[in-house]
């Protein structure tokens, strides 16, 4: 190398450094292009020399071509580009070498001659090329050449150039590395099989002495090992012509490959790291320095695959068995990783090892892997590494179920490893620890889902890690949410989840809004999976876990009424709660009741906002339970009646002191808080309760509920429209109740009538009164109703005795009327009071008559007519034909009064209503069954009117 041709380059480089970075990109491509052009030129001459078979000339040309790779000015990416180009051209040179070596045995001469090249970069590229050819030609030399190449490559400590040089070394030798070949494997297996056969034979021959047998077996096993090794070496000798030296050192050919690759990896790693520490030119500003450092790091990361290739190569070697990996490969790699102390290299290599080698290997070397993690550079993202490992293992476990033996051990290793990491790495960010714990939890769930204690333990670790007084970041919160969701999504069973003692503790660490999110998710999970939680204990735990939904807490966000989002979220939560409580029930009535009580307790402190929404479903839930109990009680009574022997269930029920009554009491209690808050709803609920208790035949309770309903109506309802609606509700509910003593019934009817009459708006009043009229002719319609059945039985008995009596007393309490229409099946009447019925109708007509609006009056009259027709058709005697006729006349009269503007007044629906009513009467007159009844009804006038 003469100094003269060195200088221009240097001056050129100095110039480049002075230039601003903006022009660098263009310069780079320009430089790359010119270097490529030069290489192409030399490549051309090289090809010519190759074709002419001139070895020394081609060495010269190849060296010339390789000079481009000496450039310091190219960015790593461009350097790689050039490298690819040049190494491709070098193949021609390899071809020539291969030809020459065939002609005469001048292997050593080739290997020597390329070393005359005075510049080190070209020299070593040529040396590697030649070395590969020599090995190819004479595998005996593998070890010698590989070691020499490794040694000589030390001459290039320049990071980028050294890295590529060694990459070239790795590329050129990849197909030449001795490995355990297929045939060897086969023979190995063959040997093993034979030996196995021998072992099998033995015990058969010597059945008498078992102990001896065992000992011999052990010995045999040892022998097998020895034999295996022997056979290996023999094979190697045959196939590879192992060198004496190797034998002495006990180095098997495949060990050379492993050592070589590892060594190269180590060196490449060192060079790779060194890129980071390259000194920057001194004449640049601080800002430039920072930016070029960043650029350097980026460029360096791009080169990682060069280092990683070696790991891939290792993993591809068949000779790297689990044993070899564990004993000879991994320890060295780990030591290297630990020692290099570079964060990028440490994380890249660790991750690469995890990715490249089979998961099975990792399972067996977990403690080794974990041993280095705490010692890695503080900035290495341990989390990513562990999570990667966990993901791989989970994946492996899922794809190969049952293949992992000691699952428990694996989790333990992880757990220990992580705790030692947290001990040693004080800088481990909390978020990372949380992610790791999350991953570990997933792993634990995957490997041994039955170990809930593990999950619980990890939750506790999470809680501990958060214990440090520091506000949670957004990411941390998300991670905690993920941690909390992990077992939820996995088990999909709240019954298991409530066993996690620490779950609620972890939830408590979250801010209010996130607690709400996860609690909601919790409940939704239950709803989606329809998991029934039937133990009171579990229920109270569940409520503890999700308490944020039920209770106000210190950090509750003050609800801004105008914030629609918050509002809708709140409602969504509460409605979910409503749906959810129906999942909390048991087959066991006592437990169910207990559960209801627990829920009620929790709800009661939830504030009015919540109670408004949550109490109704609780009431319904309780009503359902009451109904269930009632059913049971009945059945038991029956059994008792039929068979007076002891009945266990019944006893149990009594022991607990539970009866439907108690539940109604319970309902009554929780309802009281609601009346003021939510009068309308509580009114409806009272009615509902009345219905339910009526079905259970609890007259006093039903009466109480009805009274409450009316009380609410009286105290809290002021809006006329609502009043009208509610009084309708009350009266129609009342009409269906069947457990009342007629006196009580009539009392309630009076109240209904009274409130109806007090309505402020006349049409409302009319309609409400009309509705009330039904109360006085109450028909038992539901044949399946329990109350009905009871009654019917009694009726039948009574009927036999007093066939002519129409009113039958039942059990002294109830009055039941069987009314037999002459033409029809008997109708069961529950209550009849003709006088008051007619009173209602008359009052309705009177009030309607006072209305000033003819069309409304007309409409109301038709409605009244319809009601009357209903009573008439029942043939109850309450309404007779003359009443109907009078009403018809009244209608006609009102119509004629307004004849002039009739068509304007009458809207089509009203007219249709009128017409259909008329048509109905007409039909009834023709109908065989009703012909007789309807005969006195006079419709001629109306007919005439219509014909007009």
């Amino acid at each position: 190398m003469s100094r003269k041709d060195k200088t221009p380059k240097i001056s050129q480089k100095n110039q480049e450094q002075k230039k601003t970075p903006t022009t660098q990109v263009g310069e780079q491509t320009q430089l790359l292009d010119s270097l490529k052009a030069a290489a192409r030129r030399s490549g051309f001459y090289l090809q010519r020399s190759v074709q002419e078979g001139k070895l020394s000339d081609s060495i010269k040309q190849a060296g010339e071509m390789l000079n481009g790779l000496r450039s310091s000015s190219l960015s790593p990416k461009n350097y790689y580009d050039l490298y690819l180009f040049v190494s491709d051209e070098l193949r021609y040179f390899g071809l020539l070498l291969r030809e020459s070596i065939k002609k005469e045995p001048i292997a050593s001469i080739i290997y020597r001659d390329v070393q005359f090249t005075s510049r080190i970069i070209p020299r070593l590229y040529l040396l590697i090329t030649a070395g590969a050819v020599v090995i190819e030609n004479n595998p005996k030399k593998t070890r010698e050449i590989l070691l020499d190449l490794l040694e000589m490559c030390k001459g290039v400590p320049h990071p980028t150039r050294g890295l590529f040089l060694r990459h070239y070394l790795s590329q050129m030798t990849k197909d030449l590395l001795p490995d355990i070949s297929e045939s060897e494997k086969g023979s190995k297996n063959g040997n093993e099989k034979e030996i196995e056969k021998e072992i099998e034979k033995e015990p058969k021959n010597q059945k008498s002495n078992e102990n001896e047998n065992k000992n011999e077996k052990k010995n045999e096993n040892k022998n097998v090992k020895i034999k295996k090794e022997e056979s290996k070496t023999e094979n190697n000798k045959n196939l590879q012509g192992n060198e004496n030296e190797d034998k002495k050192n006990n180095v098997l050919p495949w060990m050379i490959s492993i050592n070589f690759t590892i060594q190269n990896l180590i060196e490449m790693n060192k060079l790779w790291i060194r890129i980071q520490h390259q000194k920057l030119p001194g004449n640049i500003s601080k800002l430039e320095r920072v930016s070029s450092r960043i650029k350097l790091t980026e460029e360096r990361k791009d080169l990682c695959s060069l280092v990683g290739t070696n790991l891939v190569r290792l993993s591809q070697l068949d000779s790297v068995t689990l044993e070899v990996y564990k004993e000879r490969v991994l320890p060295i790699l780990l030591e290297q990783i630990e020692q290099c102390g570079d964060k990028i290299a440490q994380s890249y290599l660790t991750e690469a090892i995890i990715l490249v080698f089979p998961d099975e290997y990792h399972i067996h070397t977990l403690p080794d892997l974990f041993s280095i993690l705490p010692n890695l550079h503080q900035e290495v993202n341990i989390k990513n590494i562990i999570i990667l490992l966990i993901e791989r293992l989970i994946n492996f476990a899922n794809n190969n179920p049952k293949s992992i033996e000691n699952t428990f051990l694996i989790t333990q290793i992880f757990s220990k490893g992580i705790s030692s990491i947290t001990r040693k790495r004080t800088s481990l960010p909390r978020i990372h620890l949380l992610s790791i714990l999350n991953g570990l939890m997933k792993l634990s769930l995957c490997l041994h889902p039955q170990r809930i204690d593990f999950i619980n333990h990890m939750l506790s670790s999470c809680v501990k890690s958060i214990a440090i007084q520091k506000k949670l970041t957004k990411d941390e919160i998300n991670e905690i949410l993920s941690i909390l969701s992990t077992p939820l999504d996995f088990y999909n069973d709240l019954n298991i989840l409530v066993q996690l003692e620490n779950y609620s503790m972890l939830i408590d660490t979250l801010p209010n809004e996130n607690r709400r999110i996860i609690s909601l998710k919790f409940l939704e999970n239950g709803l989606n999976t329809l998991t029934i939680v039937s133990s009171p204990k579990k229920v109270s735990k569940l409520l503890e876990i999700t308490k944020v939904l039920f209770l106000d807490s210190k950090d509750s966000i003050s609800e801004n009424e105008e914030d629609e989002n918050l509002k809708s979220l709140f409602f969504r939560e509460q409605y979910t709660v409503c749906r959810f409580i129906h999942l909390l029930r048991s087959e066991n009535i006592a437990k169910s009741f207990k559960i209801l009580q627990i829920i009620a307790d929790t709800f009661s402190s939830g504030g009015t906002r919540r109670i408004k929404i949550t109490i109704p479903p609780l009431v319904f839930s309780a009503l359902q339970l009451a109904n269930g109990i009632r059913q049971l009680e009945k059945e038991k009574k029956k059994i008792l009646n039929n068979n007076n022997k002891e009945n266990k269930d019944h006893d149990n029920l009594e022991d607990i002191g539970l009866s439907a009554k108690k539940i109604f009491e319970f309902i009554h209690k929780i309802m009281t808080s609601l009346t003021k808050l939510l009068p309308l709803k509580s009114l409806k609920l009272f009615l509902q309760c009345a219905l339910a208790s009526d079905k259970c035949n609890f007259e006093p309770i039903a009466y109480e509920f009805m009274t409450k309903a009316i009380l609410v109506y009286n105290d809290h309802l002021k809006d006329p429209k609502t009043q009208y609606q509610m009084i309708n509700y009350i009266s129609s509910t009342l009409q269906t109740l069947r457990a009342f003593h007629p006196d009580n019934y009539s009392l309630l009817c009076n109240q209904c009538g009274g409130y109806s009459a007090k309505l402020n708006i006349a049409p409302h009043q009319v309609r409400a009164i009309v509705t009330c009229s039904y109360l006085f002719l109450s028909i038992i319609k539901q044949p399946l109703n329990i109350a009905y059945k009871e009654i019917k039985e009694k009726i039948e008995i009574q009927d036999e005795k007093n066939k002519n009596k129409k009113i039958v007393k039942v059990e002294k309490v109830k009055k039941i009327i069987e009314y037999k229409r002459p033409s029809n099946e008997p109708v069961l009447l529950y209550f009849i009071d003709v006088k008051r019925l007619l009173g209602c109708i008359s009052r309705a007509i009177r009030v309607a008559g006072s209305l000033m609006e003819p069309s409304l009056l007309f409409e109301l009259l038709i409605e009244i007519l319809n009601t009357c027709l209903y009573f008439f058709e029942l043939d109850s005697g309450a309404v007779n034909s003359s009443f109907i006729n009078t009403l018809l006349d009244l209608i006609l009269q009102k119509k004629s009064e307004n004849e002039s503007n009739w068509k304007q007044l009458l809207t089509k629906p009203i007219y249709n209503f009128y017409y259909l009513t008329f048509k109905h009467i007409k039909l009834c007159k023709k109908n065989k069954e009703t012909k007789r009844l309807f005969k006195p009804i006079k419709i001629e006038k109306i007919l005439k009117d219509f014909l007009k």
Binding site: R70, I120, I121, G155, K270
Partner: protein, 302 residues
């Protein structure tokens, strides 16, 4: 047999015998390639001299014919004065008239301790020289050069070379070469160990430097020539690293090391290591290495 005309008066042919299987060394003389037979000390130099008178009509008078075998140290530095290292003269004829004639000659087991050498300013050449002495006219001369190569009878004692380069707190490097003595086709093997390298080195090379020292009557001339440079390292090493050096001498035009030939001439070789840092500043260290001859010809001379 070669014939040379001297001023058209006669031709003198000198032919060396006993040249079968002798190696031939190709040299350049006056831009012409010449093949020289290679002899060693204590070889018998024998041959035939044949003189033919070209112009037979004119008689050529001479005062005697001499045959001289000599080894000459020639230098352009000391006003062209040559020093005979060895010489031996044989008289072929006494004064008389020249006639066509042949003489056989032989210098048995002639002692030629110094090898032939072609240097920058100084060289050593061996000749067989025929001189026809004349009284009033210029002597007629003819010479035949041959080459002398001596295998070193005893190999100089080799000591390991260890050179340290150090700048306090900045640089501490040592070079170790197990041998200081190499034969001409040898390989220089060595290592460079880095203990401390705060200086950002860019590359490192070794150079073989030849130093010819000629002591003229009044002053001493030294001629340095860098025979080659050889890059051994690219980039900056890291503490604790050790870089291998392997350098083949085969392609190099070198002679054995000569010391104090005729008390005035020596050829020495030095192994020099250059460290070049980012600012092109050079650090170097050099150490003499001794070359000796193991075979008559270097491999590349075949």
């Amino acid at each position: 047999m070669s014939f040379f005309t001297s001023k058209g008066l006669c031709t003198i042919g000198i032919e060396l015998t006993n040249t079968q299987d002798r190696p031939i060394k190709v040299v350049k003389r006056n831009k012409k390639k010449k093949n020289l037979y290679v002899f060693s000390s204590k070889d018998t130099i024998s041959g035939v001299v044949e003189i033919k008178a070209t112009k037979k009509r004119k008689k050529l008078e001479h005062i005697g014919i001499e045959l001289k075998l000599c080894g000459v140290l020639e230098s352009s530095l000391d006003s062209g004065i040559n020093t005979d290292l060895v010489s031996s003269v044989k008289k072929l004829a006494t004064a008389g008239t020249l006639s066509d004639r042949k003489w056989q000659f032989s210098f048995p087991e002639f002692n030629m301790p110094q090898e032939s050498y072609d240097g920058v300013n100084t060289s050593i050449h061996y000749y067989v020289k025929v001189t026809i002495k004349r009284n009033y006219a210029v002597n007629i001369k003819q010479e035949k050069e041959f080459c002398v190569r001596n295998l070193d009878p005893k190999i100089p004692k080799s000591v390991p070379i260890k050179m340290e380069v150090g700048i306090e707190d900045f640089l501490h490097i040592d070079f170790t070469f197990p041998k200081s003595v190499y034969h001409l086709n040898d390989v220089i093997l060595g290592r460079i160990n880095y203990y401390l390298a705060k200086i950002n080195l860019k590359y490192m090379q070794i150079a073989i430097i030849k130093r010819e020292v000629f002591r003229a009557s009044e002053e001493t001339f030294t001629e340095k020539k860098t025979l080659c440079t050889f890059e051994v390292m690219d980039g900056a090493p890291v503490k604790g690293e050790s870089i291998p050096v392997r350098f083949f001498l085969e392609n190099l035009k070198i002679s054995p090391t000569y010391r104090k030939i005729a008390k005035r001439f020596s050829v020495r070789y030095y192994l020099t290591l250059f460290l070049i840092d980012e600012r092109e500043k050079r650090y170097f260290k050099q150490n003499e290495i001794i070359f000796y001859r193991k075979s008559i010809l270097k491999i590349d001379e075949k």
